[in-house]
C-alpha cells in the first residue's frame, strides 16, 4: 500500500514539475501576451496542483496535509483570479494581439493569397476600440 502511494506521489511530483517546465517554455516561446498567459496558466494551476498533491500523498495524514490543502485551495482561487485580472487589465489597457508577421507564418492551404499575405486570425480577436 505504501509503495503504491509512494509511486503515485513520485508520478504526481515528476509530472507536476514537467508541466511547470512546459508552461515555463510556453511563457518564453509563445509569440504574444495573450498566448503566454496560457503557458503561465498551465504552470500555475496544473503544475502547482500536481506537485502539491504529490507532497500531500508524501506527507501522510496530519497537520501538514491540512496546511498543504489550504495552500492548494488558496492557490486554486488566487492564481486564476490573478490571471483573469491581468488579462482584463491588458485588454482594457489596449494591448493588441500580436498577429504573426507575414514573413514568419504563412497559410499553407491558401496559395491564392500570394506570398505577402499572412494568416489572419479571427477578426473578433483583434480589437480597435482601445483608447490609446
Amino acid at each position: 500500500m505504501s509503495l503504491v502511494l509512494e509511486l503515485l506521489a513520485w508520478t504526481l511530483i515528476v509530472l507536476g514539475s514537467l508541466f511547470c517546465i512546459v508552461g515555463g517554455l510556453g511563457i518564453v516561446r509563445f509569440p504574444d501576451f495573450y498566448t503566454r498567459v496560457h503557458g503561465a496558466g498551465v504552470t500555475d494551476s496544473l503544475g502547482a496542483t500536481l506537485v502539491l498533491s504529490g507532497c500531500i500523498l508524501e506527507a501522510g495524514f496530519g497537520q501538514i496535509t491540512f496546511k498543504l490543502l489550504l495552500v492548494l485551495f488558496a492557490l486554486l482561487i488566487t492564481s486564476p483570479t490573478a490571471t483573469h485580472a491581468l488579462v482584463k487589465a491588458a485588454y482594457a489597457g489596449g494591448l493588441k494581439l500580436d498577429i504573426p508577421r507575414p514573413e514568419t507564418v504563412r497559410d499553407p492551404d491558401d496559395a491564392s493569397a500570394g506570398p505577402e499575405v499572412g494568416v489572419s486570425l479571427r477578426p473578433g480577436l483583434r480589437f480597435e476600440d482601445d483608447h490609446d
Partner: protein
C-alpha cells in the same frame, strides 16, 4: 524525488524570469512575476520536505496570499494609474501598454 521537483521548479523560475526581463510589455512582465510567485510557493514546499522540516508550509501559504494582494494592486494600478480611485485623470491614459527597456 524532491530534488527532481526542485530542479524542475528552478528551471521554470529561470524561464519566468527571462520573460520578466525580456518584457516587452508590462503585462508580459506581470504574468511572469505572478508565475514566479507561484513557483516560489512550490520551491518552499518542496525544500521544506527536502530538509525534513515540512512544518513551515505556513510560509508557502503566506506567499500565495501576499502574491495575490500584489497582483491585484498592480492590475489596479495598470488600469487606473492609481490605487484609490476608480477614475483616471482626463487627458491621461492609465496605459500599461508602453513597453519598458
Amino acid at each position: 524525488m524532491f530534488v527532481v521537483a526542485m530542479v524542475g521548479i528552478v528551471i521554470t523560475m529561470l524561464l519566468a524570469l527571462s520573460r520578466a526581463v525580456l518584457g516587452p510589455s508590462v503585462f508580459d512582465r506581470l504574468v511572469a512575476v505572478n508565475m514566479f510567485g507561484t513557483k516560489t510557493v512550490l520551491l518552499i514546499v518542496v525544500s521544506g520536505f527536502l530538509v525534513g522540516r515540512p512544518e513551515w508550509i505556513d510560509l508557502a501559504l503566506l506567499y500565495t496570499l501576499v502574491n495575490f494582494v500584489g497582483t491585484i494592486a498592480v492590475c489596479r494600478f495598470v488600469r487606473f494609474g492609481n490605487l484609490a480611485l476608480d477614475t483616471i485623470r482626463r487627458g491621461e491614459s492609465a496605459g500599461g501598454s508602453e513597453g519598458g527597456a
